[in-house]
């Protein structure tokens, strides 16, 4: 069998072009191995060959996200790889975001097996761990020796279409997909060991982390609410009557964005709820009970607020998987920022 073809992505620093001052470096394709690719090649042995390396500056990539992604994708596509590896980015934030973005794009758009590696606290890890395999590395380049064999091993598995093991077996950052494995010790013994660690204040790793309850620090208050542009968002599933976008009653796969220019009041003839999570009778009688457009319009006229944003966003709240709800909100928040919205009123049932 011929060797698998691998394309590797690294930033300007690891290509030894330069540090921050060279971070604007535009994407470039070089034949063969560059820099840390050597360690990967050693780990691949005879099974795979790094045929080319894409180099791109971190600033260039992050400041020209769409353009840079397209350019890099084109270079990768042309090299016809069987496997794509980015990084590892260790604890470098912008490098991590670049590695995650491009790995995700290669997987989704080119359909080529792809993975990357980074330190678990790299912001790119949280952003991409559920969409691509990210090998968990140490927080500095000193971790390359550790990371290369893991990346090569998982890379070969992906390229050959073999079954991927549990995160602790194949060394990737847990991605929310639960995979079974046989442990060397039975569960009761693992429980006793974990308890001993807990008693003695030593570190231990739970086998199933509870859903995380992370916090975001509060944004500063709105200085002049009477002149602020305010948007209404609801997880109560209010939609124009007839549910034109067919928002599902639970586990919705998309969210709604609706124009309320000239709408002063939501009535039973015009709006209803698509939410399957509560008795819809009251919201269908008067959707202002969930999405208070009527009062917001009065506030607008009275000068209590500057203006009501032209669109409202709607989702169906608790039925929707936390993951997709987060993704929806991240997406429409960008639009809100771009349109100069200064505050949001989010209503939930």
């Amino acid at each position: 069998m011929s060797k698998l073809r691998v394309v590797h992505y690294i930033n300007q620093f690891f290509a030894q072009i330069g540090g921050e001052e060279m971070a604007d470096y535009k994407p470039e394709y070089r034949e063969g191995i560059v820099g840390p690719g050597l360690a990967l090649q050693t780990a691949f042995g005879e099974e795979a060959e790094i045929v080319g390396t894409v180099i791109c500056g971190d600033s260039y990539f992050n400041e020209n996200l769409e353009k840079a992604t397209a350019e890099v994708l084109e270079m990768i596509k042309a090299a016809k790889p069987d496997l794509f590896i980015a990084g590892p980015a260790f604890n470098a934030g912008r490098y991590g975001v670049a590695c995650g973005t491009i790995t995700d794009a290669v997987k989704k758009e080119l359909g080529i097996p792809a993975l990357t590696g980074m330190y678990v606290e790299n912001p790119g890890a949280d952003m991409f761990k559920s969409s691509v395999y990210i090998i968990s590395t140490k927080n500095s380049a000193a971790g390359m020796r550790d990371a290369a064999p893991k990346m090569a091993k998982l890379g070969l598995k992906l390229a050959k279409g073999e079954k991927v093991g549990a995160s602790c077996e194949d060394g990737y950052i847990p991605n929310g997909i639960r995979v079974n494995l046989f442990e060397k010790e039975r569960g009761s013994k693992r429980a006793v060991k974990m308890l001993l660690a807990k008693i003695n204040g030593k570190p231990f790793t739970t086998e199933y982390p509870m859903p995380d309850f992370d916090r975001v620090p509060p944004c500063p208050a709105v200085k002049d609410i009477a002149h602020a542009k305010i948007a209404l968002v609801t997880s109560g599933g209010i939609v124009p009557k007839g549910n034109p976008d067919h928002i599902e009653s639970s586990n919705a796969t998309h969210y709604g964005k609706y124009d309320i220019e000239g709408v002063d009041d939501l009535t039973s003839d015009t709006y209803a709820t698509a939410h399957g999570g509560y008795d819809p009778v009251y919201a269908n009688e008067d959707a202002d009970r969930v999405l208070p457009v009527d009062v917001m319009r009065e506030f607008e006229k009275e000068g209590k607020i500057g203006s009501l944003y032209r669109y409202f966003y709607t989702t169906v709240g608790n039925g929707t998987a936390v993951k997709s709800a987060k993704a929806f909100a991240a997406e429409f928040s960008k639009e809100l920022v771009a349109d100069g919205v200064q505050a949001v009123i989010l209503t939930s049932t």
């Binding site: 916090r215 500063p220 819809p280 969930v290």
Partner: protein, 79 residues
């Protein structure tokens, strides 16, 4: 959802019937609502009374948005 909006840099007030859930999902400015099937209304009241309640809740929401907070804060509505 509330966290993602706040993360984007826009202050958000969460009007929510079940404030403990709102606390769990990480909202920083919280205004309690009336009831799950009708958070900003009450079908037992007349239309006028109902709208009055809705105004009070939203006035509290505007006040919450105009108030600096350092931690999760529940703004009670004064009916």
């Amino acid at each position: 959802m509330v966290k993602e909006i706040e993360r984007a840099g826009i202050p958000v007030v969460h009007i929510c019937t079940v404030t403990p859930i709102s606390l769990t999902v990480g909202a920083n400015r919280i205004v309690p609502a009336i009831a799950i099937p009708h958070p900003l209304g009450n079908p037992a009241l007349t239309a006028e009374e109902e709208k009055n309640i809705r105004r009070k809740i939203l006035e509290t929401a505007l006040q919450a948005l105009s108030t600096e907070v350092t931690d999760q804060t529940v703004f009670e509505v004064k009916y």
